[in-house]
Symmetry: C2
Subunit: 171 residues, 2 copies
């Protein structure tokens, strides 16, 4: 499902008007979802305006940045939640731009991995620093101690959700 | 960007392995994102297995459930973050299944709105109750007081982010 162009609307209000009647778990979920969408939209917007990049490009480069030896496309797809077909297109585009190269590692000619070029590594380092700064900007009005506490408390929600998945807990 | 089939992997770990070095704001963001994706994947899975429905269908029906008089497709698109073209396809599919009808309100023949049929209203009421129950299941191990506190604390993050958007605060 393609996402519409990011717009500044409050999804928490729009999605469910019945929040006063909703159970606390549903209210918390809607707030988490709307906050995540809000921040995610802003990150998409800044990636586009400051780097001419998309979020899937950023996510894909982040994976390759961590794996200096490169990753097979199937593994990249799994790690980025981008479908195989789209990963191929993204990699081809980044290859054309000179940020990614596809290589055959020594010893196994059947395998091709994608990895960042020097230019790609330098660009991603810039993007990652900017991304971290955007998040600091966006959370500037929140007390630093509250940010650390939230990290831990949301961890409890994550653990609980992971323990109650219909397909079993997280790998 | 299409999403790959949901898989049970922990995106927080996979996305950034450098978390120990990251600023608290980035760590919180990665945790919010991975928790939201985890819960969202489970909701998608349960909608599919229990109702044969997709998340965009659910979101679209939620909007129509709230607006008994119906909504124009452009408005539906805006509220659901689904592109115009995809909203048309979703509405057509729900119309074929008998859950949505397109009508021309009195007094303005140029306008067509989509609204839920009786069957659609009954189905959505069932889905919404199930959805609320899934969230209660997933958060079952979290203290109820912590859930309410989190709702308020994430509200602070949301307000801060909204106040620091490059395109100006939320409407």
């Amino acid at each position: 499902m393609a996402e519409a162009e990011a717009i500044n609307v409050d999804l928490e209000i729009i999605v469910h008007g019945t929040q006063g009647l909703a159970k606390p778990e549903l209210r918390l979920w809607l707030r988490m979802l709307s906050t995540t969408k809000l921040i995610s939209q802003e990150i998409r917007r800044r990636l586009r305006t400051e780097f001419g990049a998309t979020l899937p490009q950023f996510d894909l480069m982040a994976q390759l940045y961590r794996e200096k030896d490169g990753l097979r496309l199937g593994e990249l797809s799994k790690r980025t939640m981008v479908t195989n077909g789209n990963v191929t297109g993204l990699v081809e585009r980044l290859e054309t731009d000179g940020y990614v190269q596809r290589v055959t590692p020594d010893g196994d000619r059947r395998v091709t991995v994608a990895r960042l070029t020097e230019a790609g590594t330098a660009l991603f380092a810039q993007m990652a620093a900017a991304h971290e700064g955007w998040l600091q900007d966006m959370m500037a009005d929140v007390d630093p101690a509250a940010i650390k506490a939230l990290w831990s408390e949301i961890g409890e929600v994550k653990t609980s959700a992971s323990n109650h998945l219909s397909a079993g807990p997280l790998e």
